[in-house]
Amino acid sequence: MKTLTRRNWLMTTSVAGVGLLTAPRWLHAGVFPDDMVLIPSGSFQMGTDAEQAAKLAAQYHCHVSWLGGEVPSQPRNLAAFKMERYPVTNRQYARFCAATSAPSPGHWQGPKPPEHLLDHPVVYVSRADARAYAKWIGKRLPTEAEWEKAARGEDGRLYPWGNDFNPSACQWDNDPSQPPSGTAPVTAHPLGASPYGVQDMIGNVAEWCEDSPGKDAAFTKGGCWLTATALNLRAAARGMSGNDRNQLAYIGFRCVQEA
């Protein structure tokens, strides 16, 4: 495991799992979702306008100030970039840990992820952990604006798949009679694809962004498996953004790079 270098890791991933030479079998078997999706340059409407926020607050029985962070809506013009189609998985993060001796997430209870979680998104990683991984593979974390554009495209939709919430399109806390069921494989909800084909942006894990609402905090986007209301699963929602040192069971990440 220690012999897996960045160079041979890049070689293996560049051919989508063929020709893996040095890594143990569990690192590269099964799903291998490393591909990148092009998000074209151009403007999009970020956030939520006041009228829509008032409607959402009434629909979901909350004070409109709970949406305060995303109001008002404003146009943002972004250069083209590429975003990973799926969140970083335990399998992918294990390669990073093996190659760099970075500490493994606490829930692995050792250097190897539990077998049944290999293709689930990695969790219990701080933003610094996520940045280190991104740097290691020559990428970076998305800004909040990049994340939101990749999720909702240019037509102002509320969710990646449209304006109506689809309970089957993401991993969320959808059954009040049962405890939340935890993360799911990153490929489990293909109905959740964004207009550009980015997957699993809503639910499953909230995702670290590069920018921050304040000192020691970071934007996290997308809601997670613990989110129990569609209001907080919208692409514009930002209320759960928190302390960037936290390593939590519901926060993961994905990477971007310049186009």
């Binding site: 029985h61 709970w66 305060g68 009679s177 405890p179 000192k215 928190g242 939590l248």
Partner: protein, 261 residues
């Protein structure tokens, strides 16, 4: 029915509550105090290394001190459906504290039937009416997951130096308790302090805090206050009546000189 089982965590301020009749198989962390002392300059838990001592009938006593500043003793008494924390806080400094406080974290994130990061099942009472927390204004601040609320009978949150930066909700004053109903709406947990100083809530951990106020504490003086956490199978209304009766019948805030400790 046996009392709730408490276990102190050596070297840190937290004790764990398990074997709770209303919440079989679930655990909660009572992380008291995360900070304590003068509200203008309290001492954080990382500085104080509290000691835990087990007494009869499952009672725990936690003690801690910061030489030249303060010492405290917290007696944690388990009941069948509640845990009571009685604080004695002594000012060993040279200056009078305008307001003594304990920052009490009641952590529900390990209890699947209760944890509620969206605050869909969080309840408070404002102006004599029960309200879901989501109906109360919230400020999007530098740490959006946290929020502070002012409580009845206490200074406004924005005037409390230690907590003033925690996104204080303006223009709303709440009774000094916060509750979370269970997913099946049959049970609830709640934290209440007397005297209560503020409410605080963190969506990252699904924890709720009812800060304990000690009022003015002069050098050498020991002040007392109490917090109770409830784990009950009850309606909000029934629990509220019970809580008011319990706290009303037995005044909990009193003070004594340091020599009487």
């Amino acid at each position: 029915m046996n009392p709730i089982k408490l276990k102190g965590q050596p070297g840190i301020m937290a004790c764990t509550a398990t074997e709770i009749p209303a919440f079989p198989g679930e655990s909660f962390t009572i992380a008291y105090p995360e900070a304590i002392g003068d509200v203008a300059q309290p001492v954080w838990f990382g500085t104080i290394k509290p000691r835990w001592e087990e007494r009869e009938n499952g009672v725990l006593v936690s003690t801690g001190e910061q030489p030249g500043e303060l010492s405290y003793e917290m007696t944690v008494t388990p009941g069948k459906d509640s845990v009571r924390a009685d604080f004695k806080l002594t000012n060993h400094g040279r200056n009078t504290w305008k307001q003594g406080m304990a920052f009490n974290c009641f952590q529900c994130g390990a209890a699947p039937s209760i944890r509620d990061h969206d605050c869909l099942r969080h309840w408070v009472r404002v102006g004599g009416e029960f309200k879901r927390l989501r109906e109360i204004p919230r400020i999007f601040g530098p740490r959006p997951a946290i929020q502070l609320y002012s409580v009845e009978g206490a200074p406004l949150g924005k005037d409390l130096p230690f907590v003033a930066d925690f996104n204080t909700t303006p223009d709303v004053v709440i009774e000094p308790w916060m509750a979370i109903r269970s997913r099946d709406d049959k049970k609830m947990v709640a934290t209440v302090s007397k005297p209560g100083l503020f409410l605080f809530q963190n969506r990252e951990y699904s924890c709720i805090h009812c800060g304990t106020g000690f009022g003015e504490v002069k050098p050498g003086e020991t002040a007392r206050a109490t917090n109770i956490v409830y784990f009950v199978e009850a309606t909000l209304e029934d629990w509220h009546r019970r809580m008011q009766t319990e706290l009303g019948l037995q005044p909990l805030a009193s003070r004594a000189s340091a020599s009487s400790r």
